[in-house]
Every structure is written in structure tokens, then in C-alpha cells.
């Protein structure tokens, strides 16, 4: 299935753009997506942490991804 991914901060710089499309197996989970991203963009492995938000919410690693979800890569936050 095709999914759209948003990337912010250093993740956006690693991907080279804010928004892009990826083709992933259906029923993939958040942890699977993170692994695919690390394989495709090895610089992700250097980050102190990273997670995926679905529909503007933090979710668990075993949450299944739906192609309609708003998917975002969240590198270590540093607001304030």
C-alpha cells in the first residue's frame, strides 16, 4: 500500500523533503515502518530517538498503519 509521510526537523533534512510517498506491505506496524525507514535512510540510525505519530497522536509500536492515517516522523523534540 502507498502511504504519505510527513517529516520534521532533522528527519525532514534526512529525507530531503517535508512530505513523501512510500510503498509498504499492507498491515505494516509502526515498528515495521521505522525499520524500513532506517534501511532506506541509514542516517536515521544515528538519531537519539525517533517515533511515528498517527493522526497527530503518539501511538504504540505495534499499532497497525492504515493508508488513510496522517503519518509523521518525530525525531527528538526540542521545543521551549
Amino acid at each position: 500500500m502507498k502511504i504519505n509521510i510527513l517529516a520534521f526537523g532533522i528527519a525532514r533534512e534526512i529525507m530531503g523533503k517535508q512530505e513523501f510517498t512510500l510503498d509498504i506491505p499492507s498491515q505494516s506496524k509502526v515498528q515495521d515502518l521505522l525499520m524500513m525507514l532506517e534501511n532506506q535512510f541509514p542516517k536515521f540510525k544515528d538519531l537519539a530517538s525517533k517515533t511515528i505519530a498517527l493522526n497527530e497522536e503518539y501511538v504504540k509500536m505495534d499499532r497497525e498503519i492504515n493508508p488513510n492515517d496522517e503519518i509523521a516522523i518525530i525525531p527528538p523534540v526540542s521545543g521551549g
Partner: protein, 136 residues
């Protein structure tokens, strides 16, 4: 009241939003852009926000503070975009009947903001730039 803005933050406006007749205490936290990080001389700073989610997370912080302390009102403004040294990045104002609660709730809010809210800070210094906390 929660806001993410690319305009300079009016501190008085945030404090006014937290003012309440029943409150005897308002604690206000103001985060500004420092001219130094460890040894590096910072020249400017850039904040990037995942705005929709950042607003939601800030609203969760406000709700959580109200559930833990007798908060009358709470307002949080966060700046995005490019900031110069000395500019205000974040303002949190919390009013409570008694002062101890105002300090605790305000500190909770900024501590949690720094842990959960999807906003990213890039420091620009002489000869380089760096996303804060990105690497171990």
C-alpha cells in the same frame, strides 16, 4: 489558551489570558534565545513545528495541569520560525489561588512541553548549525 505563532510573542497578552479574579498567584515562565550553548556562540535559532499535533499536545498539558493543581487559567504561546538572540521562544502563564501551586504547575508545563510537544529547535552558530538533542 494555546497558540503557536511566527510573530513575536506579546508577554503581557499571555499573562492577561491567565489573569483571574479568584487567583492570588500567577507564575510565568519565559524561555528566551541564549547567546551561548556550551562553548558555541549562537547567532540565531529556528523553530519548526508539527503545528496541528503541537497544539493538541499543548492542550493535553493544559488539561493535565488543571487535573493535578487547582489551576484557574493557563496560557501557553510558542514561537516558530527564525529568532534572534534575546527573543522570546515560549511563554507559559498559570494562575492559581495560592503560589506554590502556580510554581509547580508552570514548571510541570514547561518540563512536559520539552518532552512531548513536536517542536524542533535548530541552533545556528559561526560555521555550522545543529538540531538540538537530535543525536546522542
Amino acid at each position: 489558551m494555546i497558540k503557536i505563532t511566527d510573530q513575536p510573542i506579546n508577554i503581557s497578552e499571555v499573562i492577561e489570558l491567565a489573569n483571574a479574579d479568584g487567583a492570588g498567584a500567577i507564575d510565568v515562565f519565559i524561555g528566551t534565545v541564549r547567546n551561548k550553548t556550551q562553548e558555541k556562540q549562537v547567532t540565531q535559532l529556528e523553530f519548526e513545528a508539527y503545528e496541528g499535533m503541537a497544539v493538541k499536545e499543548l492542550e493535553k498539558i493544559a488539561k493535565s495541569a488543571k487535573s493535578k493543581w487547582p489551576v484557574e487559567k493557563i496560557a501557553i504561546y510558542h514561537r516558530k520560525g527564525i529568532l534572534e538572540i534575546g527573543e522570546v521562544a515560549v511563554v507559559i502563564a498559570v494562575s492559581t489561588p495560592h503560589r506554590k501551586d502556580a510554581f509547580e504547575a508552570c514548571q510541570f508545563a514547561i518540563d512536559t512541553l520539552k518532552e512531548t510537544v513536536p517542536i524542533w529547535k535548530k541552533e545556528v552558530f559561526e560555521g555550522g548549525e545543529e538540531w538540538v538533542s537530535a543525536h546522542p
